[in-house]
């Protein structure tokens, strides 16, 4: 057959997935060139919820930038709080009281479980199973209630402060957290029975969306995507911050490189987060939750500073260029899903439409964080 005839036979059409589409979890748009049910080329188009947080960082004082941290990744806002606190504390050389660091770790890990729970539920919903989402939401509600009782908000936390946290945790929170972990532990095997072991789900996830370790490296993918590709890399372990070095936990790593591996990393991380929380609660020291000498008008020294934390979706890092005034000269936010989704275009080539959406879900994108 001549090439001309072939090209005539091969009829492609364009399909816009999003910005309003059930599978894109928000306003991500993917322009897909389809060849029947196969994807020829898929180009993610961002910017539908772009709010220019980086410019806000230049205009607002260091203290005023706090609320922005809850509005990037609205699902793991605590980790973002942690990064910003760490960044400015590094620049100002503020020493944080130990109790505050433990509280930070406890709340951040609770937040991570919450984020993974929603990620899990929403992912299964992408695959057509509605019920696990509701079970996950039930558990998640418990965490939100716990965090609400200390931080005052349910989603967009603005809880950490330079030198500590906004307010101390009380006994109710501690007992509530212990009770939650006791209640949550047996739920995970139930999820595995209901969802992971399901033949239909296994058929959909195993071998779908292969992302090699080298591809992750080239695209800067981190978090469960990288760990699902067999690379043991977690900022909490490799670049320890806060009190993570004092806590004993494992980094789940799967070598399969497929959607199932990424899904399993998230499920196992929830168990590890439970372990971290329990240890942190046991080790929680007495003392103040706020450093004593924190100036009201912050003026970090000149130069640029970098800080990275492990958010629920991967490495979140910030680079602030300070010129010695009370605002940042340049604030750069590196969001994990931005890099994770950037490999979608290359990895999804030649995939089936339904597989591609299963793959996209396994990257667990949060759009406000990508668009910033």
């Amino acid at each position: 057959m001549s090439s001309l005839a072939q090209s005539q036979l091969r009829e492609t059409f364009e399909l816009n997935i999003g910005p309003q589409h059930p599978a894109t979890h928000g306003v991500l748009r993917i322009k897909v060139v389809m060849d029947g049910e196969y994807i020829d080329r898929a180009e993610p188009i961002l910017g539908y919820i772009h709010r220019m947080h980086e410019k806000m960082g230049e205009n607002r004082t260091w203290n005023q930038f706090w609320p922005n941290m809850g509005r990037l990744d609205y699902l793991s806002a605590m980790a973002y709080n942690h990064c910003y606190a760490g960044l400015v504390e590094r620049a100002m050389e503020i020493v944080v009281p130990e109790r505050a660091e433990y509280i930070r770790v406890i709340t951040a890990e609770l937040n991570r479980i919450q984020s993974h729970l929603l990620g899990f539920g929403a992912y299964i919903m992408d695959l057509g199973g509605f019920t696990p989402l509701m079970y996950a939401m039930d558990e998640r509600e418990q965490i939100l209630d716990l965090l609400e009782s200390v931080t005052g908000s349910r989603l967009t936390y603005c809880y950490f402060r330079f030198g500590g946290v906004y307010n101390d945790i009380d006994d109710d929170f501690i007992t509530g957290t212990r009770a939650f972990i006791k209640r949550f532990r047996p739920q995970i095997p139930m999820y595995h029975k209901l969802v992971t072991g399901n033949a239909i789900l296994m058929d959909r996830l195993i071998g779908v969306g292969p992302v090699s370790a080298d591809m992750c490296r080239k695209y800067g993918a981190t978090g469960p995507v990288l760990r699902g590709s067999g690379v043991n890399y977690d900022i909490r372990r490799n670049e320890p911050y806060s009190v993570y070095p004092e806590l004993d936990f494992d980094i789940p790593v799967y070598k399969e490189c497929d959607s199932m591996a990424r899904y399993m990393v998230r499920m196992d991380e929830m168990v590890q987060s439970c372990r971290i929380i329990e240890q942190a609660l046991n080790k929680l020291p007495e003392g103040p939750v706020m450093a004593e000498k924190v100036p009201k008008a912050l003026k970090p020294p000149k130069g640029d500073f970098h800080y990275a934390v492990e958010a629920a979706r991967g490495t979140f890092s910030m680079r602030a260029v300070s010129d010695g005034t009370n605002t940042a000269y340049r604030m750069r936010l590196r969001s994990p899903t931005y890099s994770n989704v950037s490999l979608f275009e290359e990895a999804s080539r030649g995939m089936l439409l339904s597989d591609a959406l299963a793959f996209l879900g396994s990257l667990d994108p949060v759009i406000p964080e990508m668009d910033r």
């Binding site: 961002l46 910017g47 772009h50 220019m52 980086e54 410019k55 230049e58 960044l87 590094r90 050389e93 591809m215 490296r217 080239k218 695209y219 800067g220 993918a221 981190t222 990288l226 690379v231 890399y233 490799n238 670049e239 130069g303 640029d304 500073f305 970098h306 800080y307 990275a308 490495t315 890092s317 680079r319 260029v321 000269y329 340049r330 750069r332 590196r334 931005y338 890099s339 950037s342 490999l343 290359e346 668009d371 910033r372």
Partner: protein, 158 residues
């Protein structure tokens, strides 16, 4: 990693003294204090060495974490900062900086080396107007398609 380190002989104290001044620092390699800055190695190079540096760091198995553009209005320069990190084991963070003229902000792209640089460079172009020569798709990304301004430039007035 020695190739791009032209001024590697420069000793630490000298470099620190230089940093205190306001003049842009000379090309070279500084070991920074991790606890203070969050990076281990700070490398200043010419814009045309960016790709070479990326290739070297790629050979070492490092990841390009992000690309940052900074507008130094007073010095009439743009600074492009590449953050590299090592995900293979021992933590190691390298910052590569290059400064370009503000009137002719041309810098070669590292897309060919790191696929992930595509989006980062595209964003930097969009926000600051730094032209990444050889970039496959310098189109509007986060901003609307008809945006004819560079919002992160210091002289940008909304």
């Amino acid at each position: 990693m020695e190739v791009q380190a032209e001024g590697a002989g420069e000793d630490k104290a000298k470099a620190k003294a230089k940093k205190e001044e306001d003049v842009p620092r000379k090309n070279g390699l500084i070991e920074t204090e991790y606890a203070k800055r969050g990076t281990h190695l700070d490398v200043q190079i010419n814009p045309d060495q960016v790709v070479k540096a990326a290739e070297i760091l790629d050979g070492e198995g490092m990841t390009l974490e992000m690309v940052t553009g900074v507008d130094w209005l007073k010095e009439k320069q743009f600074e492009v900062i590449y953050d590299y990190s090592y995900s293979g084991g021992q933590l190691f963070r390298v910052v590569v900086r290059a400064r370009v003229d503000r009137d002719h902000p041309d810098i070669p792209t590292v897309c060919r080396v790191y696929g992930g640089a595509n989006w980062h460079e595209r964003e930097t172009w969009e926000m600051l107007g730094i032209n990444f020569v050889g970039h496959p798709q310098l189109e509007h990304f986060l901003l609307p398609e008809d945006a004819d301004f560079y919002p992160l430039r210091k002289d940008f007035k909304p």
